[in-house]
């Protein structure tokens, strides 16, 4: 202790200088928006780089399983593509016959507003009440805030921060996140919310008591969500309880389709009408 004090007094000028410079830099990076953002982005990049290296070692041992899964997914997608092509062709010839216009131009067929960017999770937490994940794709690859994130199994979360090469997502296993959804068989809308307990089970909220709900029904994303395409898989209902607090809603437990323990390959959902929707949403405020 004596020596420590001696050192402190011997280098007091240097320590005071460091102290003042530390305060200055704190003020710079805390209270200037530009500096704050650059630092945040830089930290995300560093964290992402470390996690990616770490992940590269871990994923080496999981390659076989992952390849198998990807191949399965590719085959399913190809099958769906062929089916869709066939359905489209059939629809064209079902239009009232006319020699001149027996085929409709492609522009008359609906085009999806959603497109996908493949990515990989390089860091993921599941044991906190507020979980996040880090994706190896950033603004350079076309990622922006509020993009939906899905896996081949189901919904994963939403992007909340981006840097040039990485982006930070709020996991479905985050108590702050709520996602518009519906029950596939009845089209009844509700909200998916994780209450911070089991990482495999979420709650489907706001489904009125007079609506019959069956265990085993599938829960999918609804058209109210701008982050995900309608009808994307979220999970299956495993239990329906009566509400404890006397409210008029079912207490519905949903087993998530996404296995957050094994989450690896994901897709970032790009809504091509995102800016347009946001602009309109902001206008709502004018009418309130």
């Amino acid at each position: 202790m004596q020596r420590l004090l001696e050192l402190f007094f011997r280098y007091n000028n240097l320590l005071f200088f460091i102290f003042l410079q530390w305060i200055s830099l704190y003020l710079v990076f805390r209270y200037n928006d530009f500096h704050h953002e650059v630092l945040g982005s830089y930290l995300i990049s560093i964290s992402g780089y470390i996690q990616e290296k770490n992940h590269a070692i871990r994923s080496y041992f999981l390659l076989a399983e992952e390849n198998e899964k990807l191949m399965k997914e590719n085959i399913e997608l190809k099958q769906k593509l062929v089916q869709t092509q066939e359905a489209l062709n059939a629809a064209r010839y079902r239009i009232p016959y006319s020699r001149k216009f027996n085929l409709l131009p492609d522009s008359l067929f609906p085009v999806s507003v959603f497109s996908f960017i493949p990515g990989r999770i390089v860091q993921n937490s599941i044991y906190d009440p507020y979980n996040f994940f880090l994706v190896n794709k950033g603004t350079k690859h076309g990622v922006y805030k509020e993009m939906g994130v899905i896996s081949s199994d189901g919904v994963v979360g939403i992007i909340i921060e981006t840097s040039e090469n990485y982006s930070l997502g709020m996991s479905l296993l985050n108590k702050h996140l709520r996602i518009s959804s519906k029950i596939k068989s009845t089209n009844i809308h509700g909200t998916i919310h994780w209450r911070g307990n089991n990482p495999k089970i979420v709650h489907l909220e706001y489904v009125p008591l007079h609506i019959p709900v069956q265990v085993g029904d599938t829960v999918i994303t609804s058209s109210y969500s701008n982050f995900f395409p309608e009808g994307y898989h979220i999970g299956k209902i495993i239990e329906v309880k009566d509400p404890k607090d006397g409210q008029g809603f079912h207490e519905i437990l949903v087993l998530l389709a996404t296995d957050f323990y094994k989450l690896e390959n994901i897709y970032l959902v790009q809504n091509q009408h995102h800016t347009e929707i946001q602009t309109l949403k902001q206008r709502i405020l004018q009418y309130k």
Binding site: N12, N13, F16, Q21, S24, L27, V28, R30, Y31, N32
Partner: protein
């Protein structure tokens, strides 16, 4: 420090906030005239007092331009280099003689050698920290600010401060 010199320093800081801050040329050359106050702080003052005052002056400037911390950081760094720089450009004095050292009795050449590099150094650190990168634009800002501020500081020092202090 003589009371008159202290009043001059206060006036320079006041002028910096209400006049020189608005005297930026083409968004490239900034007039950081207040640096003269930091460079003319008495050499016999305790180092901790000098950097504390530099920090306070820097914070005042930061508040006046709404960019917290940048002037404070640069001011403290510059006054730390100040004493060493004086001993380098004035070999006839050594650190023990500093109490008797009078910058006002030095030649114009000495003032030029003292102020200009430190002002350019200040400009470099300030723009590097403000931009967080060194681009061509940063270089032009560093160069233009250094040149512009040096000119103004030497003019004010020679015409107003040095002549009145000599008397």
């Amino acid at each position: 420090m003589p009371l008159r010199l202290f009043a001059v320093f206060l006036m320079i800081i006041f002028l910096q906030i209400f006049f020189f801050n608005a005297l930026t040329l083409f968004d490239l050359a900034y007039a950081f005239v207040f640096i003269i106050v930091l460079l003319l702080l008495p050499l016999d003052w305790d180092y901790k007092w000098v950097i504390s005052l530099a920090f306070v002056v820097g914070i005042i400037m930061d508040i006046s331009v709404l960019k917290l911390g940048i002037h404070a950081f640069t001011s403290v760094l510059m006054v730390t280099l100040r004493n060493s720089w004086i001993y380098i450009i004035t070999p006839q004095i050594n650190p023990n003689d500093k109490i008797d050292f009078k910058p006002f009795s030095q030649s114009f050449g000495w003032s030029l050698a003292y102020f200009t590099p430190l002002i350019f150094f200040y400009s470099l650190i300030y723009h590097l920290l403000a931009d967080l990168q060194f681009t061509l634009n940063t270089f032009w800002k560093f160069f233009a600010t250094g040149f512009y501020t040096s000119t103004l500081v030497l003019l004010i020092y020679t015409l107003f401060i040095k002549t009145s202090e000599k008397r």
